[in-house]
């Protein structure tokens, strides 16, 4: 047994974080640790290498490749980290030192543990980089992190983690910040490391589909305990554990919608030939060529229709959304809401238009002023009201809207930090709904939520659109979300819309090569489980 953790219990300030966690892993296998945020999955992985936060106390047995790490001191851990256990973190942007070349950073990992000359370590570094798919021929060791893409940075991080040929590799949400196509490449790299080099890999992730496609073993965590552990196939096909079942169900959750096929042919929102270009850097010889984030995009949204705008990071979907919302000025093209020009020069018109088109942003933590109470936050959009509302009227509206999104009136006097991520996203929806809009744009509005919460929010959105006849413009990188909630889908790449069509049609028979690639790369729970029968 490469890794054997038994009855690991961790307390931070007398608060139980892990309760008697046991994990086993053999050489050449991938163990997926799955669970929602706060379930203790990251803590379990970090406890193995002694990277628990300050003030944490742990008990239990930890054995890695024969080393007893349960009572190890920092010196022992320093020898184990890197040499016996490699670690890859979630955020490839901050995991690398921006002022050192990648060759030097990879080489440094060896020089800490082995007494090698500069040239020897450089040679090993280039081998390690070649192994992760960055051959020195086409990929210079002298490059700096800022010139690499997210996927390339994660490869460099993996090269650093694996250069000393550790028996165990711990990867904490390694692909969460990456696009689906990049994610697929990184996951297949993990698979190769396990199959070819016999590395045991712990893959910590919230995404069950990733585990279904990549891992051999899975441990489902909830509230600091392992609810269930075993073979991926066994557990994902027929578990009897209620929590695992719920998790699987929520991952593949399809909100119930009464689809109205008779959309009016009058668009509520229409964008024509939008262009948003960012100016290039200024040099002595004038401005160099700019960057077209949005390149001649036209789209329309009809009443009662849900539109999905999907694409990978950097494709321009967020810029397009900002331009449509009038938060960014396009260089060319125009936006019309109910046939009226938007943004409008008239203040009165503008307020009417803003009431009609509202937005829910991505980050449930950053979207509220931390110093405002919920009642103020939710009623902020009432600034757009035709006639100013009295205090009592405002309060009535706030109470009614909180009720609509499944929160209670007593929440109105609380501050946003008192709410969970899912509740905050409900608050954000309440804020958008209070002006009775016809269109709500949702910028990755459910992407950062846990699956169970995501399922409830999707239900809420579906219910609201049925009841109030709101159209949604879903901007997301997550195809599985777009699939279940939208009627029509637009695929964006390099600032242009490359494919457009009914959601089912695009998913079942994508016509553009890029859409096909995107769909193939997206991990799918059911298919992954079925495929290996």
């Amino acid at each position: 047994m490469l890794l054997d953790v038994r009855n690991l219990t961790v307390h931070i300030d007398d608060m139980p974080i892990l309760k008697s966690v046991s994990l086993q892993l053999k050489m050449g296998e991938i163990l997926g640790i799955a669970g929602e945020s706060g379930s203790g999955k990251t803590m379990s992985a970090l406890a193995i290498v002694g990277l628990l936060p300050q003030g944490a106390k742990s008990r239990g047995d930890i054995r890695v490749n024969g080393h007893d790490l349960a009572n190890a001191d920092e010196t022992t851990f320093c020898n184990v980290r890197g040499k016996e256990v490699g670690i890859v973190f979630q955020e490839p942007m901050t995991a690398l030192n921006p002022v050192q070349s990648i060759g030097r950073q990879v080489a440094e990992a060896i020089r800490i543990h082995q007494d090698l000359s500069r040239s020897e370590s450089q040679k090993l570094a280039s081998e390690a980089l070649e192994k992760v798919g960055l051959p020195a021929k086409s990929f210079s060791l002298d490059r700096y992190p800022h010139s690499l893409s997210g996927g390339q940075r994660q490869r460099v991080a993996i090269a650093i983690a694996t250069i000393l040929k550790p028996a165990l590799l711990i990867a904490d949400e390694p692909t969460t910040a990456l696009d689906v196509t990049t994610q697929a490449e990184i996951l297949s790299l993990f698979r190769r490391l396990a199959d070819e080099d016999g590395v045991g890999i712990i893959l910590v992730t919230h995404d069950l589909a990733v585990i279904a496609e990549t891992a051999d073993q899975v441990a489902i965590m909830h509230n600091g305990s392992v609810v269930e552990a075993g073979e991926v196939q066994t557990i994902f096909r027929g578990t009897n554990e209620a929590y695992t079942k719920a998790l699987l169900r929520d991952t593949a959750h399809v909100p119930v919608r009464s689809r109205l096929d008779n959309y009016s042919d009058q668009p509520v929102l229409e964008a024509r030939h939008l262009v948003r270009e960012y100016a290039g850097p200024v040099s002595w010889f004038g401005r160099s060529e700019g960057f077209r984030a949005v390149d001649d995009v036209s789209l329309s949204v009809f009443a009662n229709e849900n539109i999905g705008l999907v694409g990978e990071s950097g494709c321009g979907k967020s810029t397009l959304l900002r331009t449509i919302l009038g938060l960014d000025t396009p260089q060319a093209g125009q936006v019309e809401v109910f046939g009226r020009q938007f943004p409008s020069p008239s203040r009165k018109d503008m307020h009417w238009l803003r009431r009609k088109i509202q937005v829910v942003f991505q980050d449930p933590f950053g979207t509220f002023d931390p110093r405002w109470r919920v009642s103020q936050l939710v009623s902020e959009n009432l600034y757009l009201a035709e006639t100013p509302l009295t205090r009592g009227e405002t309060r009535q509206k706030v109470d009614a809207i909180l009720d609509q999104v499944g929160l209670s009136m007593s929440d109105a006097d609380r501050y946003p930090h008192e709410f969970s991520g899912g509740q905050r996203q409900r608050l954000a929806i309440a804020r958008a709904l209070i002006t009775e809009p016809s269109i709500i744009a949702l910028d990755e509005a459910v992407s950062s939520l846990d699956v169970s919460i995501r399922a409830r929010i999707l239900d809420l959105l579906a219910e609201l659109s049925d009841r109030l006849g709101v159209s949604y413009l879903f901007v997301t990188h997550d195809l599985s979300i777009a699939r279940v909630i939208t009627d029509r889908i637009l695929v964006m790449k390099d600032g242009q819309i490359v494919e457009e069509g009914k959601t089912e049609q695009v998913f079942s028979s994508p016509s553009h090569a890029y859409t096909q690639r995107l769909l193939a790369a997206a991990p799918q729970l059911e298919q992954a489980v079925l495929k290996s029968t």
Binding site: V359, F361, F365, G366, N381, R431
Partner: protein
Amino acid sequence: MMTVRGMPNVAGARCRFPRRLVVGLTIVTLIIVTALLSFVWTPFDVSAIDVGGKLLPPSAGHLLGTDHFGRDTLSMVMVGARSALAVALVAVIIGAGIGVPLGLVAAARRGWVSQFIMRGNDLIFAFPALLMAVMIAAIHGPGAVNAMIAIGLFNIPVFARVARGGALTIWSREYILAARVAGKGRMLISVQHVLPNIAGLLIVQVAIQLALAVVAEAGLSYVGLGVQPPSPSWGRMLAEAQTMIGFAPSLAIFPGLAIMILVFGFGLIGDGLNDHLNPRLRKER
């Protein structure tokens, strides 16, 4: 990472005011009380000249001794606290009152408005406060009011920069976007969302600038550009003690100590507030 932010703040549960803040507040409060007390009572009349009892060392009668006119040093230090506090306070109010709005505007309106404000600030920054005071004194004559204006002017760019820097990070938050979607203009957003969220930053800066302003006031008085005689001031007491430092060192020591203690007090408040208001530092304490 979501999980970390979602976790209850473990450090916050036993969060108290930092000791530095408490000590600083105590020092400054004591000096303010002393200054207020000097309006109704001082051990001796500060303008009472007693040639017979000049240059006395500290004793039971004159706790801190007397100067070359026989005036009681303790009384003078007490009254001197008034001008030190008043000049520092008014100067910082001038600086923050003009600088913060300028910084907010510079952050809200990028482009030439921002450039104009910030380059104007650089211009003021380039002049030392002393030089500015000399210029103002040359035109309007020396005095406490002109010292306040000179130090206040010097404070404007400091506050403008701090406010702009803090405001720029707030402007990148999503709740600013949400406020813009609510149809609010840049100025309204600056007042409703930006200012409250940089208030902590500004309060810390106020404490630091108060400390600097006390030193600046003493400096101006030292060269004769601050409070005019016969009202006592710490800076001028130091200047007058200079020639007698060989045989009456206590004349220089006590006003010097007074300046030091007040600056130290404001400095501790600034440091303590920074620790208290900055959650990242708070965790490490």
